[in-house]
Amino acid sequence: MKSEIPHSGITRRRFLKDGVLVPLALILAGGGLSTLFLRRADVRGFYLRPPGALEEVRFLGACIKCGKCAQACPYNSIRMAGGEAGVGIGTPHIIARDIPCYLCPDIPCAKACPSGALDRSLEDVEKITMGTAVIVDRENCLSLRGLRCEVCYRQCPLIDKAITLQPRHNERTGFHSIMEPVIHREKCVGCGICENACVREKPVIVVIKSPPLQKDSYEF
């Protein structure tokens, strides 16, 4: 008996090929290609995130790359990463040497974030933890060589809290003192103003990822 129902022309073979195999191959090819450049952004170094950012791995999960934080920043400090950031493409970051974070008292960038990647309940700029400043090149630091530079100290928005000056005897001249800028990691918010202000061609003080806090088992 012949079937009365007209055949739609879609055979099982065609359905399996066009409906299942081809899309599956496309998804796998797309996934394979994307993993080539999809690496976590912090693999390529430290990205200074805007104030209130979640810890990097969760930040990359929560940021939807809408750009509202960058649009809210009055100093254009926040820029959106390009393809070089891998999986962090389109995520906001700050290049302190170009334009640091000037720690607006109302923190408009964090308030603009819709997704929770930046903590919008953040109210106090001193509670920001973007990173920690470190003198990475002591030989080239003018203050440490005995000159009265101290630009990082004077520019620091948390002067005498995040950076203090510690005088000590200058052994080289035997006569003067060295005014050493000392960074206090529990106070430093990582805004990058010191890195931006450093007078050397290459900054000797830079913001790095805050080292993990350790329980202090030594009594002094």
């Binding site: 081809v22 994307s34 969760r58 990359l60 999960g61 939807i64 649009q71 603009a112 819709p114």
Partner: protein, 257 residues
């Protein structure tokens, strides 16, 4: 000259791009892009972006959910994939590409529509598994809107790849079969009251509507089986079939069942 949907639709498509560009002019009533935005202080969010960020970042922000629900409600009322046909800049770009493809006569193959929903499901599963909002990373919608906002032009290469594939390999494959945002909105569109209606007695069977439709499968139940509406959620409510129909057999209609 009679009213054409295409004119209204082009106006909306261009206005969306203009709106995203307004902060460049120093205007402040709009911020953000199609992932998330604020219009006169009202938060708007792509529901797919909300789902991905919540799953990948393990965060929950109530106002973000509210913004996503607001946008979902809007598209539920207006047709679901109306986002695709009227708002999405990638749809506009690939529509233009498709016009050239038609003239070149290349890449006529078309792939099934149902895979957009698979793509949506896979995106959510991978976001949860990898902790990366996968579609937000690769999204040509995000890339093209950020190109407008921040003049970040290099990632537009991905949009160019989509355009080339669509023009020379498979017609409209991104929007038809792969885009997870389209997949999400097609789920809403199935239950949307805004529909294309069909009056069989007026139809001459000329087939122009099927040729102009980007998702011509959705017309089959009406044209072949005599359904009085296009009920598929894959219909983008673009109105091209209504515009081209010489006998007005196709028109705007609301939900009847």
């Amino acid at each position: 000259m009679s009213f054409k949907w295409i004119i209204a639709r082009r106006l909306v498509q261009v206005s969306v791009i203009a709106l995203i560009a307004t902060p460049l002019l120093g205007l402040t009533f709009f911020q953000g892009n199609l992932s998330a935005a604020a219009l006169f202080g009202i938060g708007l969010a792509d529901p797919l972006a909300f789902l991905q960020a919540s799953l990948a970042g393990r965060v929950f922000v109530a106002s973000f959910l509210g913004s996503a629900l607001l946008v979902s409600a809007f598209y539920l009322i207006t047709g679901g994939r109306t986002f695709c046909g009227w708002v999405c800049p990638v749809y506009l770009i690939t529509e233009i590409g498709d016009k050239f493809r038609g003239r070149l006569g290349t890449g006529g193959r078309s792939y099934p529509l149902a895979t957009v929903r698979w793509s949506f499901a896979v995106t959510l599963a991978l976001s949860l598994a990898t902790g990366i909002p996968l579609f937000e990373v690769l999204s040509p919608i995000g890339i093209s809107t950020r190109a407008v906002m921040f003049k970040a032009l290099l990632p537009l290469l991905l949009v160019a790849v989509i355009l080339v594939v669509e023009m020379f390999v498979a017609r409209r494959i991104w929007c038809r079969s792969l885009c997870p945002a389209g997949g999400f909105y097609s789920l809403l569109g199935r239950f949307s009251p805004a529909r294309v209606g069909f009056t069989r007695s007026l139809c001459t069977g000329c087939g122009k509507c099927s040729r102009v439709c980007p998702v011509e499968e959705v017309l089959v139940p009406a044209l072949v089986d005599g359904e009085r509406q296009v009920v598929s959620g894959d219909c983008t409510r673009c109105g091209d079939c209504i515009d081209i129909c010489p006998t007005r057999a196709l028109g705007v209609d609301v939900w009847y069942k």
